[in-house]
């Protein structure tokens, strides 16, 4: 693992991604201390002001401070990314472990179902689910989590299938270890590498999906600041107040890019073929 870590840290792009995510997380956590403006406090004497020393990134159509909204929006975005991917990881991981470990008709059934879900375009399914569940933060997370689940199910099943005949698994079975114990204690730790890569890439996709759903008005509802809904509101004022669109847009872009960079770096670091 140390070799992998060293390889990852020597990858400048991956490192840049890691720094960006850390800064973002820091900004999200420290948001109330980094700005004295509330993200929801309207100010009708200062509507749509251009960026200045008073309002670092300007104000929006209700006079709210955009810097503050972008910072607090990071909370929504990161929470959305982490929680929806956790849902997918737990659900998909469980499905994959069970399918790969037991095989047979159960595997067949679960994988058919996974195939069917993977046939849907990610975003179209997320939109449909979010629409049926109704717009709220919680439902957005559930929708994105469900749509991300089959990817993890496939991945974990493949890994479990490859590990199943290995001696250490067979030994654990022979020693009479309970199935659950074998799955979680023996199998899972041995397939974490590819899982971490997928977690990182899926987080990028989840952050993007949350922003997209919120942009369409199907995700996080106002007045909670979310980058996607900020961009949606900004569309009508593009000619006079472009900063309203540019900063939340940049925030989404950089957050997604950062998680993708980390995922890429991890994949290269874990891939024995790319040894330098």
């Amino acid at each position: 693992m140390t070799r992998t870590l060293r390889s990852f840290l020597s990858n400048r792009l991956a490192l840049a991604g890691l720094v960006m995510v850390l800064l973002l997380a820091l900004g999200a956590v420290l948001a109330p201390w980094l700005t004295h403006y509330s993200p929801t406090q309207t100010d009708f004497t200062g509507l749509q002001q251009a960026p200045s020393s008073k309002h670092l990134l300007g104000t929006d159509e209700l006079g709210r401070d955009i810097f503050s909204r972008v910072l607090f929006g990071a909370r929504v975005s990161l929470v959305a990314g982490l929680i929806s991917v956790s849902i997918a990881l737990v659900l998909g991981g469980l499905i994959g472990l069970v399918a790969g470990f037991y095989g047979g008709w159960l595997d067949n059934l679960l994988m058919r179902l996974t195939d069917a879900m993977l046939a849907f375009p990610f975003l179209v399914l997320a939109i449909a689910l979010a629409a049926v569940l109704g717009p709220s933060l919680q439902n957005t997370l559930i929708a994105i989590g469900i749509v991300t689940t089959p990817v993890f199910a496939r991945l974990v099943r493949g890994q479990a299938l490859a590990e199943r005949p290995r001696d250490y698994v067979q030994a654990a079975v022979a020693l009479g270890g309970g199935d659950l114990r074998i799955l979680l204690r023996h199998l899972l730790p041995n397939i974490t590498g590819p899982l971490i890569v997928q977690v990182s890439l899926s987080t990028a996709a989840a952050v993007l999906a949350e922003a997209t759903l919120s942009f369409l008005g199907l995700g996080i509802q106002p007045p909670t600041p979310s980058w996607g809904s900020m961009l949606n509101a900004a569309r009508g004022y593009l000619a006079y107040a472009p900063w309203m669109a540019i900063f939340p847009g940049l925030a989404i872009f950089l957050a997604v890019l950062a998680f993708n960079l980390i995922g890429d770096g991890l994949r290269d670091a874990l891939d024995p073929r790319t040894k330098k």
């Binding site: 792009l13 058919r112 179902l113 195939d115 069917a116 879900m117 046939a119 849907f120 375009p121 990610f122 975003l123 179209v124 399914l125 939109i127 449909a128 689910l129 629409a131 049926v132 569940l133 109704g134 990028a204 993007l208 922003a211 997209t212 942009f215 369409l216 008005g217 199907l218 996607g228 961009l231 900004a234 569309r235 593009l238 000619a239 472009p242 669109a245 540019i246 847009g249 940049l250 989404i252 872009f253 997604v256 890019l257 993708n260 960079l261 890429d264």
Partner: protein, 314 residues
């Protein structure tokens, strides 16, 4: 060949059947009753009951599924709740617009992605290579709607070169149609361009280290012929695969792109059906997108044979 296509299609039937089941479950099994969803929470209960009756919602769930499936097989996707129009003609009418958009997006993605990937592979480890890597990943990471808005700001508002949104049928005014397609196609194509560039680079690097490339060089062929004729052709398979895999992404991207540029296509129908609470239409568009992804993947398999003569389907 035909046999192969048939076998692939039949082999996919169980999955497709599950797809229809999932689409059906999406609106029926999940919490929430379509009648309430349609009429809102505070609806008159009698009205809701009548609507439920009208939609056949009080029949057993399996009977409902059977009836819906029976309609599907005959190409009947039901009727829109909003205006009681048949869903299939609506979709047929919107599909060409989205296909045009997708076609241009794919063209832009190939024109940008393949050369970028080739250049990066040939100059592996150089600043150009790093630049292509960052650009490609940026293309994948930038939200469609943000890129679309940026392009509108730059080319429509600032420079005033291109109208910000709208659509004109190509047979009405071809020039205007192409002009209006430019920004949306670029918006939609960038993610695919990024993916294509990455796969072209990696795949070409793998191929370039193989014996027959060395042979081709050894017998004195020009570098250009070696790369473009010998290596790229063999590097193309993973690239074609990635295009097939990205089709779902292209469809999802079209939903957003059509929304941003007010293009009345299939993707717009997805969003409209959601906001109109028009569940028969939503079911239909979700189902059709899944089926298109499936069909394109069969097509991709056939393309392999065209690229690589060693692959034959009996």
């Amino acid at each position: 060949m035909i046999l192969f296509v048939l076998r692939r299609l039949v082999g996919g039937l169980p999955t497709l059947l599950l797809v229809t089941l999932l689409v059906f479950a999406l609106t029926r099994v999940l919490p929430g009753d379509p009648a309430t969803l349609l009429l809102g929470e505070e609806a008159n209960p009698q009205l809701a009951a009548k609507l439920r009756e009208q939609l056949g919602l009080n029949r057993p769930i399996l009977v409902q599924y059977g009836a819906w499936l029976g309609g599907l097989v005959q190409g009947d996707l039901g009727r829109s709740i909003r205006d009681n129009e048949k869903v299939s003609p609506i979709i047929w009418q919107k599909l060409p617009t989205s296909l045009e958009l997708a076609f241009f997006a794919l063209a832009i993605a190939l024109l940008l992605g393949v050369p970028a990937g080739v250049v990066a592979a040939l100059r592996r480890g150089s600043a150009t290579d790093a630049g292509v890597t960052v650009l490609a990943l940026s293309g994948i990471s930038i939200p469609n709607f943000f890129l679309g808005i940026l392009l509108v700001y730059l080319f429509s508002i600032r420079l005033d070169w291109i109208p910000p949104s709208g659509y004109v049928e190509p047979w009405v005014d071809l020039r205007k149609n192409l002009l209006l397609m430019l920004l949306p196609a670029f918006t939609l194509g960038t993610a695919l361009a990024g993916a294509i560039a990455r796969f072209t680079r990696n795949s070409l690097l793998e191929v370039l280290s193989q014996d027959y490339v060395r042979t081709a060089r050894a017998k004195g062929l020009g570098e250009r012929i070696v790369v473009w004729r010998h290596a790229l052709r063999n590097a193309a398979i993973p690239v074609v695969t990635v295009i097939g895999l990205q089709l779902g992404g292209l469809l999802g991207g079209a939903v957003i792109t059509e929304q941003v540029f007010s293009i009345p296509g299939f993707g717009r129908l997805v969003v409209d059906s959601v906001f109109n609470r028009d569940f028969p239409v939503l079911q239909a568009v979700v189902l059709i997108s899944a089926i298109s992804v499936f069909l394109v993947n069969v097509l991709v398999d056939l393309l392999y044979a065209a690229i690589d003569p060693r692959i034959r389907y009996g």
